[in-house]
């Protein structure tokens, strides 16, 4: 390989890594716009979550066949990355299959394993494309996926098919050149590989020059494709391959039924009841009660939004969504990310956050959506990457109730009845014991 290729490669690699880290830093900055949040539970419990839910994909296995296919893509992604290490070294150092000699017999074994995985990934991606676009699976056909989200999903699958195919063609042309005794390919003979050997007859009659062009093209497209894919992630639902891990780690380890407390209101009530407890130094009240916009949510809520891969398992099990109500927990997460990205772009432009007259509630999520929630936790239970749409819904409800006073009229009565009768129904406390004397049947 000549020095020009090495320089070009170093340039592409460097700018890809730079661009990716720039975009990830912007995402982390966006997540940090959220309110404080401290994850409950022990370190041990949280690492267990990372192992079981993120690495082990435990919740995926409620749909075993899909989980198996998803696991193949995931394992393919992780394991084939070992091969990328060799490709990066070759590209920078101008070597050819630098690991072949040191690894000896292990090398063909590894490449064979990668090839089998690559082949399986191609098969699964094709199955997933058919499932997503051709089969009547309700969660893939909801309106909230129209436009970019649906294209995004298909782009990811097509890119993966292309990358895996390039890897196989790279090996096929390389081994063909080895067999023809062309240097530097024949410096180390690897022998034929399991899958790419079936592609070799296709290029059997090609000239050495054509084979070299094919090998170089496949090599370059493969690695440039991987780097391009890396930079596609920050714009894509596919970001879950990174955020699933911290998201599992920071998931609260407490009963799902527990609502997040609002210490600022707890304090206000305490001071109203026991004025002697008011501290002498005044505390500044929070800007807002509940959440109107993304900055009012916790940073975990915002990380949830970037972890969402829009699979729709949450909406599939949502009692409101499955009976035709407007609420879709998946849309809550997609809206949160879209709004947060919008806020991020505004900050990029002006250097700081200025009110833009828009907000998550109303401009993205309508009150009718959050009002349909039964707080049943089915969405939380269903999410394979530990996202909690319910927590966001309840914070938006708090804003509606406490800041806007916009709740359904029956809830206004619920509030006043609870305040006056100490019960959600209009019965005086004196009748609380009446059940003891009712006739039983």
């Amino acid at each position: 390989m000549d020095i020009l290729q090495q320089i070009l490669f170093a340039g592409i690699l460097g700018s890809s890594v730079w661009l990716f880290s720039k975009n990830i830093r912007a995402i982390i900055r966006n997540i940090r716009l959220g309110r404080d949040y401290t994850a409950s539970g022990s370190q041990e419990q949280r690492w267990r979550n990372v192992m079981l839910l993120a690495f082990g994909q435990k919740k995926m296995f409620t749909k075993p066949l899909v989980a198996l296919m998803h696991f193949i893509i995931y394992a393919g992604f992780l394991i084939i990355n070992l091969e990328v290490l060799e490709i990066l070294t070759d590209g920078l150092a101008g070597t050819h299959r630098v690991l072949a000699a040191p690894l000896g017999h292990l090398y063909p074994f590894l490449i064979n394993a990668f090839e089998v995985l690559a082949f399986l990934v191609i098969v699964v991606c094709i199955v997933f494309l058919i499932r997503r676009n051709g089969l009547p699976i309700a969660r893939f056909q909801k309106n909230e996926l129209n436009g970019w989200p649906r294209s995004d999903a298909n782009i990811i699958l097509v890119i993966e098919i292309i990358l895996m195919s390039l890897f196989l063609f790279l090996n096929a042309s390389d081994v063909s050149l080895q067999e023809k005794g062309v240097l530097p390919y024949s410096e180390h003979l690897t022998g034929r590989f399991l899958i790419s050997s079936y592609l070799m007859p296709l290029i059997h009659s090609w000239s050495v020059g054509s084979l070299m062009i094919l090998e170089r093209t496949a090599w370059w497209l493969h690695i440039v494709g991987i780097l391009a894919f890396l930079n596609y992630l920050p714009y894509s639902k596919h970001l879950h391959i990174l955020f699933a891990f911290p998201n599992a780690y920071f998931t609260p380890q407490e009963p799902a039924g527990k609502m997040t407390n609002m210490p600022e209101i707890q304090r206000e009530v305490l001071y109203a009841m026991e004025p002697d407890k008011i501290p002498s130094d005044s505390i500044t009240p929070p800007k807002r009660f509940g959440a109107k916009d993304v900055m009012d949510l916790s940073w975990k809520n915002l990380m949830d939004a970037y972890s969402c891969t829009e699979c729709g398992r949450c909406s599939e099990v949502c009692p409101a969504n499955s009976t035709g109500k407007l609420l879709s927990p998946r849309k809550i997460m997609m809206d949160t990310r879209d709004r947060l990205d919008e806020v991020g772009r505004l900050i990029d432009k002006t250097g700081q956050w200025e009110e833009d007259g828009r907000s998550l509630l109303h401009d993205y999520i309508r009150p009718e959506e959050i009002r349909a929630c039964t707080t049943c936790n089915a969405c939380v239970e269903a999410c394979p990457v530990s996202i909690n749409p319910l927590d966001i819904i309840l914070q938006l409800r708090r804003y509606q109730a406490m800041e806007e006073s916009q709740v359904p009229p029956e809830w206004t009565s619920l509030f006043s009845t609870t305040e006056t009768s100490m019960a959600p129904w209009k019965f005086p406390p004196s009748e609380r014991e009446n059940w003891r004397f009712q006739p039983s049947s």
């Binding site: 407390n261 707080t375 049943c376 939380v380 019960a423 406390p429």
Partner: protein, 270 residues
């Protein structure tokens, strides 16, 4: 069979005036106090406790809503007010152990009151009944009318997913020797009845179906003649659902406390 049966359940106020401390506080809940259907469950559960000679008390007119529905409707101020008053009261009586027939009260008392200063051992009646059966304290009759009957159990979200209590109510039903059949969606996958999150107190949002009807269809599809529940709101929703399907002649909706009360050996409580 329409006779008046009154319980002599002391209130904590009465007991503490006598300097007595009960074994457990029975938190009746608003539904259990005021809803006519839920009152029957309250009577059934109180009947079991009396039958077993368990020293228990209620708060009576001092009990107030835990604040679960208003909190979930977004009114945190009102929730904190309710919680403050209840915790003051419970701490003043030095309450240690609470049993309740409502999963919503259970969840709030158990999970949400501790960080506000209310620390109690809180038990839902499903777990409490299971404990009593396991300890051999509840003796069930051999010729219960439920024996061998096809029964399905509807998971309450606030017992199930919210607190991971799936087995206790099922163990109670198994002790009754019924034929337990599961719905398509059960345990952690159970479908909500539609009442949680303060939906009980408002009209359902616009959609193409009521949630309780969807759930009732699943319950009826099992062929069970009895739907067992462990929550007053689920009870209302499932009862309404069965009625709207015109199946109320054939299919009963009963709380597990009622099933146990009706199956006690040496029955005194029906």
């Amino acid at each position: 069979m329409n006779h008046t049966h009154s319980f002599h359940v002391p209130t904590l106020a009465e007991l503490s005036a006598e300097g007595k401390v009960p074994e457990v506080l029975f938190w009746v809940g608003c539904a259990g106090s005021f809803d006519q259907r839920a009152q029957k469950v309250t009577r059934a559960f109180a009947g079991i406790l009396s039958h077993l000679g368990i020293q228990f008390a209620i708060l009576g007119n001092e009990e107030a809503c835990t604040g679960d529905p208003v909190r979930r409707a977004g009114n945190e101020f009102l929730f904190q007010m309710m919680a403050y008053q209840n915790i003051q009261l419970l701490n003043q009586y030095q309450v240690r152990k609470i049993v309740t027939t409502c999963p919503h009260c259970f969840n709030t008392l158990k999970n949400e009151y501790p960080e506000l200063g209310g620390h109690y051992e809180v038990i839902h009646h499903a777990s409490y009944l299971q404990g009593l059966i396991d300890e051999g304290k509840i003796k069930l009759t051999d010729d219960s009318s439920f024996k061998g009957k096809k029964i399905t159990y509807h998971d309450s979200c606030y017992l199930g997913r919210a607190n991971k209590i799936y087995e206790a109510p099922r163990k109670v039903l198994e002790a009754l020797d019924v034929e337990l059949v599961e719905m398509k969606r059960c345990r952690s996958n159970g479908l909500c009845c539609g009442a949680g999150g303060a939906q009980m107190f408002k009209e359902e949002e616009k959609g193409n179906k009521r949630i309780n009807q969807e759930r009732t269809e699943e319950a009826l599809a099992t062929g069970a003649r009895l739907v067992a529940v462990a929550c007053p709101f689920c009870n209302t929703m499932m009862t309404d659902g069965v009625k709207s399907k015109g199946a109320d002649e054939d299919v009963q909706v009963l709380d597990i406390a009622e099933l146990v009360a009706l199956s006690l050996a040496d029955q005194k409580t029906s």
